[in-house]
């Protein structure tokens, strides 16, 4: 994907199509044919002139299969698809998209959400209705198919091309869904085929994969191995777990935690320095969240939560981020602490963090010991290597404080270094502006550390799995 002056647009078309069929004998040989025929009917439906695409939060309606018709006169076949943006009412309180561009260093394409609709008027014929009755025993199967197609284009691509592309994508998705439905069907038990979008490295690029609902990632290993081969993906890290699905720029995270606040920061201005940052997505966990008042004692717990959120969102684990209690219980379970530890306000350190990561997530970690805070300035190479190969957030504890290191800016030549710190001691709300302005997530120099205290760093290692 070439990022030019023109921002790219991702068109996302969603809609529900009801799949319905009647099977006399679900286990019989004929049922596959019947199912395929129903899917064929759905493919005809999306290729028919009755489908209507609407752009969410706008008055735009487009009939893509009738030689392009739209209810907005100025939008025509040859119009560039970027013209659509002006008709969309943004939900944000007051701020329009153009001012957002100036604000923060935020890259990424614009997402345009569309919905799939069907016109029931303007029919081909005018034959009055009939009632058709079938009186044989049969299994009536009804399943809503959650269509979700994505098309990534540059803003000057024509609307006609975009629409044709989306209709093609719908057809292909129905074919893929048919395959998944047939593969995982057992008699009259059908699993809903769900689309997931992934931004994969080239040559695959933006890809959509259909997974059967209700089958956990752990049981889809073979399917993933096959896809890794097909898309030429490395076989030691997950790309296609459900958690790895592409997060659309405009979609809010339902849990309310901030994701990757560091991307809104400007990198420090050091001559000759390279950036080595955390890879992927983590959530910012800090004091007072989840109605737990851990002010003064919970900082290491919060750093650990941030690390756990990273493993969850990269698809390594399906378990939720642990609570303070669950963390404490894990330490009791491994014999590291007495049972009365649970419910206490006792601090933990890097060693405990390592133990919990192992116990709850099956993740191993390396421990780095630094006898004086001043020595941290010399650890540039190790940290750079860590972020390059593992790319996981690092928990650092020492003095009386714990923090999370999200990256370093390090010059191999001059040795100058800055640390990207995520501070768990923040007690406020999930306000990105405050967090970045006041440095709760920010770049710090070597003087940030207590020069005389000793520090332990916990560097979590990625499991080699897909």
């Amino acid at each position: 994907m070439v990022h030019s002056e023109e921002r790219d647009i991702i068109f996302r078309l969603k809609g529900i199509l009801e799949f319905a069929c009647q099977l006399e004998n679900p286990n019989g040989a004929q049922s596959q044919g019947t199912i395929s025929k129903s899917f064929q009917g759905l493919r005809s439906k999306v290729s028919s002139k009755n489908i209507v695409l609407t752009v969410c939060n706008s008055p735009i309606l487009i009939w893509p299969n009738t030689g392009f018709r739209s209810n907005v006169e100025s939008l025509m076949e040859a119009s560039s698809c970027g013209d659509i943006l002006q008709y969309i009412e943004s939900d944000d309180s007051g701020s329009k998209k153009s001012s957002k561009k100036k604000d923060k260093k935020k890259s990424g394409p614009t997402a345009v959400n569309m919905k799939l609709l069907f016109e029931v008027t303007e029919p081909a014929g005018n034959e009055a209705p009939s009632l058709i009755r079938v009186s044989t025993q049969q299994h009536c199967v009804k399943m809503p198919l959650p269509l979700d197609c994505v098309l990534s284009v540059s803003t000057d691509e024509s609307l006609a091309t975009v629409c044709t592309g989306l209709v093609e994508a719908l057809n292909k998705q129905l074919a893929d869904m048919e395959e998944v439905v047939l593969r995982y069907r057992k008699g009259s038990s059908f699993l809903v085929p769900q689309p997931f979008h992934f931004q994969l490295p080239e040559p695959a690029g933006f890809t959509t994969v259909i997974y059967p609902a209700g089958v956990p990632d752990s049981q889809l290993q073979a399917a993933r191995e096959d896809l890794h081969r097909r898309f030429k993906l490395p076989s030691d890290r997950p790309y296609l777990r459900r958690a790895n699905a592409f997060h659309f720029p405009d979609a809010a995270y339902k849990d309310g935690y901030l994701r990757n606040p560091h991307i809104h920061l400007n990198p420090p201005n050091i001559e000759d320095a390279k950036l080595y940052l955390v890879q992927g997505v983590y959530s910012y966990h800090h004091y007072m969240q989840d109605r737990v008042d851990d002010d003064g004692w919970g900082c290491a717990y919060r750093s650990l939560q941030t690390i756990c959120s990273w493993f969850q969102q990269q698809g390594y684990v399906e378990t939720a981020v642990p609570t303070h209690t669950q963390i404490q219980q894990a330490l009791v379970d491994v014999g590291d602490k007495e049972p009365r530890f649970v419910g206490s306000r006792q601090w933990i350190g890097s060693i405990e963090v390592q133990a919990v990561l192992d116990q709850l997530l099956g993740v191993t970690s390396k421990i780095m010991f630094v006898s004086q805070g001043s020595e941290l300035a010399t650890k540039g190479r190790e940290l750079a290597n860590h972020f390059q190969t593992e790319g996981t957030p690092v928990m650092i504890g020492g003095g009386v404080l714990a923090h999370t290191i999200l990256g370093v800016a390090w010059s191999e030549n001059t040795g100058q270094i800055r640390f990207l710190i995520l501070d768990p001691h923040y007690t406020g709300g999930e306000d990105l502006q405050t967090i970045t302005d006041k440095g709760w997530c920010g770049w710090k120099g070597p003087e940030f550390w207590d020069q005389n205290a000793y520090y332990n760093l916990c560097l979590p290692q990625r499991p080699k799995t897909i």
């Binding site: 009647q22 609709l117 069907f118 016109e119 034959e127 209705p129 009939s130 025993q137 399943m143 809503p144």
Partner: protein
């Protein structure tokens, strides 16, 4: 604050021309359109004469008011409401009495109006919204003095009492009401569980209700613009009582398949069914909108309700006569049967159209007869428009599995096509005499069924 009823002069003429036998009463319906501020009455029809079994009418001591056949009045109301296109509905009742009965007339009207509303709204597939007017008008006319007493009742509240209302005559009340039209493709697949006829009815109702919700939630375009808000519905024509040009506005309905109750499932919903029913075809719909500052979404609502009503009415009519025909055997027959098709005819003077439903073996002469009986108006057969919905074509039924795709050419053999000129089935002489209209259709449908199941 009473309601104001603006009544077309044609209604005044009709009411003035009513003949009541001395000492007896005449009941009838009033139809038109309600809007939040005022109501418009465009049609009055007296209850058709029901031939009694020959017993003496009123024995001593029984007032003619008590003799009013409430069932017959409400049945007439239901039949007429099926004949009204969208936007129009039965707004109330009138009662002509001799002077000595005038003081009891109000009670009679109250009984009638509540009974009528209850009967008409039974089985309706759409819910009233907050803004729907639930006042119904009762008009009492003294046969001697011709004095009018007009009141309204809120039929939503069984305890409501009569409120005073204004009755004003005007010319051309509906002459420039725009007409919305559309043809809607219906393609419903309804599974049938259980085998009794009650089950079939319930399944059909459930299936239709789900479809009706989809239509209600659909996006509606009128004349190319989305009609979803409180903006004024601009019909583009200034109100001019002199012109007889009525604007026709095409409406377009766009639905989504969203079914939120199925959203959270991870597997398909599978039911073991004893069969299934499909309703397939195109229905032609119309709705009228008054031109007293109507809102866009009310216009959309009117056409959507007509769409829902027309499908519901046809299915009801079909199942009603099926029940009489097949009785408990219903549900065991397979095959394709034509639902009655909709035809339109002009209402006298106002120029609004009314509709009727024609079973396949009927002709326009039958429709004209029904219009005469139900709406008390003469309609020339040429005036009845049967072109909007065409006759059904029949596909071959292969074994027990009907293909989903209508476009599958290999399966479509036209084995019988009902022509317009089919010789009229001789009606049984009881057609008009004291039998509910539904049963009359049943007799015709029996012949129809025999034709299809041969």
């Amino acid at each position: 604050m009473g309601r104001s009823y603006f009544v077309d002069e044609a209604v005044e003429e009709y009411l003035g021309g009513l003949q009541a036998a001395p000492g007896s009463c005449v009941t009838g319906l009033l139809a038109g359109q309600s809007s939040p501020q005022r109501d418009f009455v465009v049609l009055a029809v007296q209850t058709p004469h029901r031939e009694s079994e020959g017993q003496p009418k009123a024995s001593k001591g029984v007032s003619p008011l008590d003799d009013i056949d409430v069932e017959w009045v409400t049945e007439h109301a239901k039949q007429v409401s099926r004949m009204l296109p969208g936007g129009l509905c039965i707004l109330g009742l009138f009662l002509v009495t001799p002077p000595e009965l005038s003081k009891d007339a109000q009670n009679a009207l109250k009984r009638l109006i509540f009974a009528m509303d209850k009967y008409i709204t039974k089985g309706r597939l759409w819910e009233l919204s907050e803004e729907d007017v639930t006042d119904r008008v009762t008009l009492h006319i003294c046969s001697k003095t011709k004095k009018l007493v007009c009141k309204s009742f809120d039929v939503k509240d069984p305890k409501s009492s009569a409120k005073p209302a204004d009755w004003k005559y005007q010319t051309g009340v509906s002459s420039s009401w725009p007409m919305l039209t559309c043809s809607v493709e219906v393609d419903l697949q309804i599974p049938v569980t259980g085998s009794s006829s009650d089950n079939t009815d319930k399944c059909m109702k459930d299936g239709l209700r789900r479809w009706a919700k989809q239509i209600e939630a659909a996006c509606c375009l009128i004349n190319g613009r989305q009609a979803l808000d409180d903006s004024e519905f601009i019909s583009g024509q200034k109100k001019n009582p002199k012109t007889t040009n009525r604007q026709t506005l095409p409406a377009r309905i766009i639905v989504s398949d969203e079914q939120s109750e199925l959203d959270e499932r991870s597997s398909a919903l599978v039911q073991v069914c004893s069969g299934s029913m499909k309703v397939r075809g195109v229905v032609h719909c119309r709705a009228y909108i008054h031109n007293n500052k109507p809102k866009a979404r009310h216009a959309a609502q009117a056409i959507k309700r007509d769409i829902i009503n027309t499908v519901c009415s046809r299915v009801e009519m079909f199942l009603e006569d099926l029940l009489i025909n097949e009785g408990s055997q219903k549900g065991l027959c397979s095959g394709q049967q034509a639902l009655p098709r909709r035809v339109f005819a002009p209402m006298p003077i106002s120029g609004l159209s009314v509709c009727d439903y024609m079973f396949p073996d009927e002709s326009t002469a039958d429709v004209a007869e029904r219009l005469k009986e139900m709406l008390d108006c003469e309609t020339p057969e040429e005036g009845i428009d049967t072109s909007l919905e065409s006759n059904q074509l029949f596909s071959a039924v292969s074994g027990s599995e009907i293909t989903n795709s209508r476009d599958d050419d290999s399966n479509k053999h036209v084995i019988s096509e009902i022509q317009d000129g089919t010789p009229k089935i001789q009606k049984a002489p009881q057609y008009y005499a004291g039998v509910a209209v539904a049963a009359a259709i049943a007799l015709l449908a029996t012949a129809t069924s025999l034709l299809y199941f041969s």
